[in-house]
Amino acid sequence: MTAAVLTAPLDAIRVGRRARVRRRTIGISVLAVLLVALLAGEILLGRTIYPLSEVLAVMAGQDVPGASFTVGQLRIPRAVTGALGGIAFGIAGSTFQTLLRNPLASPDVIGITSGASAAAVFSLVVLHLSGGLTTLIALAVGIATAVVIYAASRGGDATGGRLILIGIGIGAMLEAVVSYLIQRAAEWDVAVAMRWLTGSLNGSRMEDLPPLVGAVIILVPVVLLLSRDLDALALGDASATALGVRVDRTRILLIVCAVALACFATATTGPIAFVAFLAGPIAGRIVGAGSSLVVPSALVGACLVLGADLLGQFAFDTKFPVGVITGILGAPYLIYLLIRTSRRGGSA
């Protein structure tokens, strides 16, 4: 009798957990399939459609006239840059949102990517640097921006609106710098300028990829290892401490990883609007509450970037950079989220 009473709720929990695990597995599988499909779309679609055999030959490293350049030099770098950038933005965004317990606190909304973007443009336009050094400068300034925003908003409720408000203000300042530098760089063509205003995959090159690849390879596993602690931190510092998490060290490590991912991605693709902001909430909807968002938000980020890039390339008469598409699609969601949260009278 007592045993039955005890096991009934346990069974329910077990069934619930099983349902959660199933939903998570299905969600991640669907996202992975979608990502592969989008990657295939990036590589196969274009003015010239090459036979699959030629594309595979190029990917195997063989020299195919025509396809080697178009697919090997243009489409594959574009696809890889988009996927890695999306992974980085997605993880950075969901990590911030979880850590600060605030869906609005993603690195693009609070101005951190603007810092990286301004630094990258400065390095290119004024210092005439490129490649790895630009990425390093963008990383350094992005981290500095995060530190300034954090320090300026200290003293209040760390998760609260002050950080967002201050971040938006500092972001506006840095965006003014970007506009100024781009306007000065008169000889630059419009496409390059656009990359730093909205984010773009145009002109992605294999030789620009190593920093981003390195960042993803090193930082994503760190975030994955810490993802259990991250979920504990989402419950609050006291609960996390009770669960055996070394709160301060874990939080700093996670913030550094997330800022670095966002900055490396920004230095490579420009600040693709709203991907970091959107990836976490969409991933949450797909895998359900109470499930780690690191992997699904990485997949959602990559799918968002590649999907929006394909839309931008092929859906209209003109080719639009990916950031224009994500900006137009992402902003209504931010407004929706804002209205929904306000209606409930909840705090940001």
Binding site: G169, A172, A176, G327, L334
Partner: protein
Amino acid sequence: MATDTLVVRTRRDAPGRQAGTSRRVGLVVIGIVAVLAAAALSLAFGSRLVSLGEIADGLGAFARGEVPADVGAIAVQERIPRTVLAIVAGAALGLSGAVMQAITRNPIADPGILGVNTGAALFVVCGIAFFGISSVYEYLGLALLGSALAALFVYLVGSVGPGGTTPIKLALAGAATTAALSSLVSAVLLPRAQAMTEFRFWQVGGVGGAQWGSMAVVVPLLAVAALVAFALASGMNALALGDDVAVGLGVRVGPTRALAAIAGVVLCAAVTAVCGPIAFVGLMVPHVMRLLSGPDQRWILPLSALGGAVLLVLADTAGRVIGSPGEVEAGILTAFLGAPVLVIIARRTRMRGL
């Protein structure tokens, strides 16, 4: 008895009020002197180093309507229209910010944050791209329409839910709307290289492109809007006490707020049409003036106009000196000054959450 009380109260208040008033009159005088001093600096200093004698000659030539001969005189004559525009635009932006903060009862209401700039940009860009507009009137009309719609939208989104407009809601609604509208601006511009180039220059706000023709169109409009704002100042004082109290005081809340909002939007939209987006002037200046003069809008509004003029003229002058031989647009410098001020405001304001 009642009369006695009244008399006593008046007597007790009178010295204090007089002191406050004389202090505020002093502030206005200081403000006017500061505008004149800033204007003198703006004429005297710039991208090119010009001696004081040449500046005097240049001013004399300008006053006599002569065509300037030497380089110094030309430099001075180039500085005259931009100085005038900086005074006008700065005053309008300061006033606009003061009006918006008063009617939304929100410390961070600012044309930039309310999405006014981007709304103006989108409509102007659409006008250039789809309707081939070219006249100042058309620019102005579209900028006004776009600004008004964007400001209305951001304000509505920012005021949903209990608690009305909180700073965070307003800032987020503004940031999201700005992002969406700038993406649309890019989408319209990208296929049009020529318009894109023009826009890149417009996007950095500044008074370097000052021309008497466009100023002649804008100034009357700004003057009317400023007069409307000043006329509504005491009504805005009542709004600051809350809508219920304002109604009790006999203020017609709806019309007052609507008219003031129109004046505030017209002020910053007209400036945006001529100068491009200049951020944070409307945010910073009214806060400083409120600290100096107290909460009475009848003083905050004119002081904000003066303060805005001083700030923009100095920002423009500093930008020319720093950027010599080129220039750093005033909008860049105000953004640099404005972000720290926003941080201070955010730290002082008690956050109510969303």
